[in-house]
């Protein structure tokens, strides 16, 4: 049977690359469904036939685990927040002095949004107006279409669309809580699911994730995970 994976929208394109590699090496077909983490959560709770869910945060995976829907939970990546201001030089000063409309993800449920708010507070940035995208992709769209002149978006998006290097500035990790993205393997998943998880944490794959604009858990964490301590 095919392996069914639910994925939060921001990680989708990266996951597609991973899945292509996995399909080649393991000869298993992977079906990818993208949705918001909230939707994935509701669907899993109500019996969605997924094997693995790649969430955009750690809260909902933990909740799923506590409700007994999972048999494995792991952090697979940390998102990186960037300040993007198209057609202008981007750096820390530009961010601090920015006074226009700024697009961020909705801090209420999107981890990138929470991180953006943290950052703005910590760095005492006072933009003229904050507009919220439902998720980080939408915040990105606001900037990309020119409706918002700048935004705090994800590095993965910047990489995906090959934004010129001088137009964005990667916000340092310390300025916000980590944007931890976790996956869960669901209780009734097929055994192939663990194979896929193992493939995800394969060094070649983690390099791919890093190249896509994420930080990956350090080797320490990874080995602990491999020993099952995280469970």
């Amino acid at each position: 049977d095919n392996l069914r994976i639910g994925v939060a929208a921001n990680f989708r394109s990266t996951l597609e690359k991973i899945a292509t590699g996995f399909e080649l090496t393991h000869n298993v077909k992977v079906d990818i469904s993208a949705a918001s983490t909230g939707a994935l959560f509701a669907q899993v709770k109500n019996g969605a036939p997924f094997d693995i869910v790649f969430a955009a945060d750690s809260v909902r995976p933990a909740l799923l685990e506590s409700m007994g829907h999972t048999r494995l939970r792991r952090t697979y990546a940390y998102g990186q927040l960037v300040f993007w201001i198209p057609e202008q030089p981007a750096d820390e000063r530009a961010l601090i002095q920015y006074r226009g409309t700024m697009a961020i993800a909705n801090p209420r449920h999107a981890p990138y949004g929470k991180a953006a708010i943290d950052t703005l507070e910590l760095m005492r940035v006072n933009p003229g107006r904050l507009v919220y995208g439902t998720n980080i992709n939408q915040a990105f769209n606001f900037v990309r279409t020119g409706n918002a002149p700048a935004g705090l978006v994800a590095l993965s998006q910047i990489r995906y669309l090959n934004v010129p290097a001088n137009e964005f500035w990667v916000v340092p990790d310390q300025s916000h809580a980590p944007i931890e993205q976790q996956l869960v393997v669901l209780k009734d998943a097929s055994v192939t699911a663990e194979l896929f998880v193992a493939y995800t944490f394969d060094p070649d794959t983690t390099r791919l994730i890093e190249q896509s604009g994420y930080l990956v858990p350090d080797a320490d964490t990874l080995s602990r995970v491999a020993n099952g301590a995280d469970r």
């Binding site: 639910g6 394109s13 949705a35 939707a39 709770k45 019996g47 969605a48 036939p49 992709n137």
Partner: protein, 236 residues
Amino acid sequence: MTESDLVSLWLTLKLAFVTTVVLIVLGTPLAWWLSQRSHARERGRMVKLLQNIVEPLVALPIVLPPTVVGFYLLLAFSPNSLPGELWQSATGTTLAFSFYGLVLGSAIYSLPFYVQPLQVAFSSMQRELIEAAATLGASPLDRFFSLIVPLCRRGFFIAICLSFAHTVGEFGIVLMIGGNLPDETRVLSIALFDHVEALDYGRAHVLAGGLLVFSFVTLFLLYAVDRRWQNGTRTT
């Protein structure tokens, strides 16, 4: 268009078609029943009250955002809830994440767009013509097909177009209860949404453009057929 987009297109057309058929079968009698209110002097009070309640109920799904309707449908379809349980014990499958679940969801959400234009058409029809047909020996069902359908042709046409198009464009419910499964629930609207979400603008443009042109041509042809039909009855 990629192959997966073509699969989505096929699925979308299938969903819209099946949903529209379901609406025609269930929505037509409902619209008829609701449109009979003003004439129904001889009916009981209970029937009237029921109509007064059902009429606003029909319009109700659309005041909730589709994702929210989808959310509640998801709850209802869950094997933990009564309807979901019944369905599962009857068919062995879950309603959520299945094509039939999508049909059900779309039908509920598109119901007002089918029922209400029809109601307008039914209620503006001349009742005397139906009486004339009755005296000529036409049974109620015969009257319906031989008289009411052609007289309300425009209402049917617009009701069908609206609900078909609306099902094609439907997205929030499908996303929630469909789970975005290729071959089964990833309809075109979801694929399109995916492309936009994945910042894959090129594919999104192609798909949206294709969908628009396809729909325009289809609607244009349908309207042309409709006009020809109309002209046909005029001169023949």
